[in-house]
């Protein structure tokens, strides 16, 4: 079977920085692949490369079997792109925006009208279809932008941080829309900074950092590799931070400004109890204590080398 995306050793330099530094990605057809990473990891550069928007300095990139460098025209007929901005024309209605993109995709007038109507229904924009896009809310604009990326019925949908900057409700609405598309059989490549988003939407996650893939797998596989959970303590007195750290030993992370200490543990519940017992015996007062899933920072700590991870900040 042809792969949806085959990327080997991609390199893209901007001056001295390497936005992509030997990135490998393999995505099968019939899947949602999430590229997960912090700001500046190379996510957008990768999507732009797949979308034929930039010239790579090295590496091989094929989209549904077509080489991006040799035959960008063929790739453009197969993809639909929704970038980080809602790239819709504010002075046109939702429907006009979709019909325009469908026509540019090469559909005739009747087919463009049909597809636009179907997409409006699918994304729940039918009621507002004939209002100018500049009157839309941020979430509606993003949905319209998503609609524009799929109105040409592409084989592969490219979504670059589709929910960044959206309020929680719009985010969930957009998730639902993406979910429905996937059910209807569209292949999707999406980038995100949010672990939960990748977890929610993707069959396969590629974690990238500094322009390279640092881990690949299904959400379940990755969680297993990251393992366990995190105990986070919020101490009352700043001077207690060091004592808590000493008590917990090994891999603690201390944030002095918020008086928080976090530690990764394998079996959360039992260890939470023993930690509480320790702290009680030592007479350390807590504001709060919690047990939670590792966040993206901690995923990076777990999956990348220590000094690389310290530099990686995530939202």
């Amino acid at each position: 079977m042809t792969m949806a995306i085959e990327a080997q050793g991609l390199v893209k330099r901007y001056g001295k920085t390497r936005a992509l530094d030997g990135l490998d990605v393999a995505a099968e057809r019939g899947q949602v692949v999430a590229v997960l990473g912090p700001n500046g990891a190379g996510k957008t550069t990768f999507v732009r490369a797949v979308a034929t928007l930039l010239r790579l300095d090295a590496g091989m990139l094929r989209v549904v079997g077509h080489d991006v460098a040799a035959d960008p025209g063929a790739v453009r007929r197969l993809i639909g792109l929704a970038g980080q901005f809602a790239a819709v024309e504010p002075a046109m209605t939702g429907r006009e925006n979709l019909e325009m993109v469908a026509r540019l995709f090469g559909l005739n007038r009747a087919a463009a009208r049909r597809n636009a109507q179907a997409v409006l229904e699918q994304l729940g924009l039918l009621e507002d279809a004939d209002r100018l896009a500049r009157t839309y809310s941020g979430g509606m604009r993003r949905r319209l932008d998503l609609g524009a990326s799929l109105v040409g019925a592409p084989r592969l949908l490219l979504l670059d941080e589709p929910t960044t900057g959206l309020d929680p409700r719009s985010r969930i609405e957009l998730w639902r829309a993406i979910h429905n598309l996937v059910e209807a059989g569209t292949d999707v490549l999406l980038t995100t900074q949010y672990l939960d988003e990748a977890d929610h939407l993707a069959n396969q996650i590629v974690i990238i950092d500094h322009g390279r893939a640092v881990a690949t797998g299904t959400p379940a596989q990755l969680k297993e590799r990251i393992g366990g959970s995190v105990i986070e303590l919020h101490v009352r007195e700043e001077r207690d931070l060091d004592r808590v750290a000493a008590l917990l030993g090994r891999s603690v992370q201390i944030d002095e400004s918020s008086r928080r200490v976090s530690v990764r543990v394998d079996s959360g519940r039992e260890q939470l109890t023993s930690v509480l017992r320790f702290l009680d015996a030592a007479g350390i007062e807590l504001e709060d204590i919690s047990l939670r899933q590792p966040n993206l920072d901690e995923v990076f700590l777990a999956l990348t080398s220590v000094d690389a991870a310290v530099g990686a900040t995530a939202a």
Binding site: R76, I79, M92, L104, S149, L158
Partner: protein, 254 residues
Amino acid sequence: MSATLIVTRRSLLRYVRTPQLIVMATLQMTMFFLIYRYLFGGAIRTVGMPYVDYLVPGFIATGVLFSGIGAAVATAEDLQQGFIDRLRSLPIARSSVLTARAIADTLILALAAAVTIGIAFAVGFRLHGSALDGLAAFGLVIAFGFAFEWLFVTMGLFAGNAQAAQAMGMIVFPFAFISSAYIPVATMPGWLQVFAKNQPLTYMVDAVRALTLGSHSQALLGHPAGYFITRAAIWAVAIIAVSLPVAVAKYRRG
């Protein structure tokens, strides 16, 4: 070709459906026109003809430059807001998006020039040549306008954002003012005259003037209309020949 038309339509709709843009631009242009006509005009001597007849061809031809700033800003905005990325990811000719921008802004320029001409006639401007020559002059302005749009589209692509495009647009001021558009070049210091006489806008202005001033033109300009029209046309072709390939290359590269 149809892709070009579709994108042109979008650019035009943006203007048409943002009436405050058109109203503001028209008001501003009318205000400046009246300032020249009634305030500065009184102090500027033009031998053998009323100042208004001297001014109008210059004012309309310089409109090409000032409206070009709008094209540069619009191009930069499209780039900044990801619209150009979307279009670049679609299976359409690389040049169609830029051509659409140049066509749309030329049409807007034609509209603005027509409005200015209407106002000009209302405040005393008269054609001294034939009506046909007058129409030819109008056509010439639009043709120059199309050539210059390419320069401004290129500028917008390199600027990358609206503010930078606006700032780069300032370059039109020396070309607009150090020319024969508003005042006779002979009144400038010698070193400025060298620039004023040889830059493209002066040839454009004088080509238009040669067609609207009729029998006065030879005395004022010293050459027949053809002299200015050929030189202006050479500039126009040169501007397209340089900026079109540069713009397309930049657009391709992203």
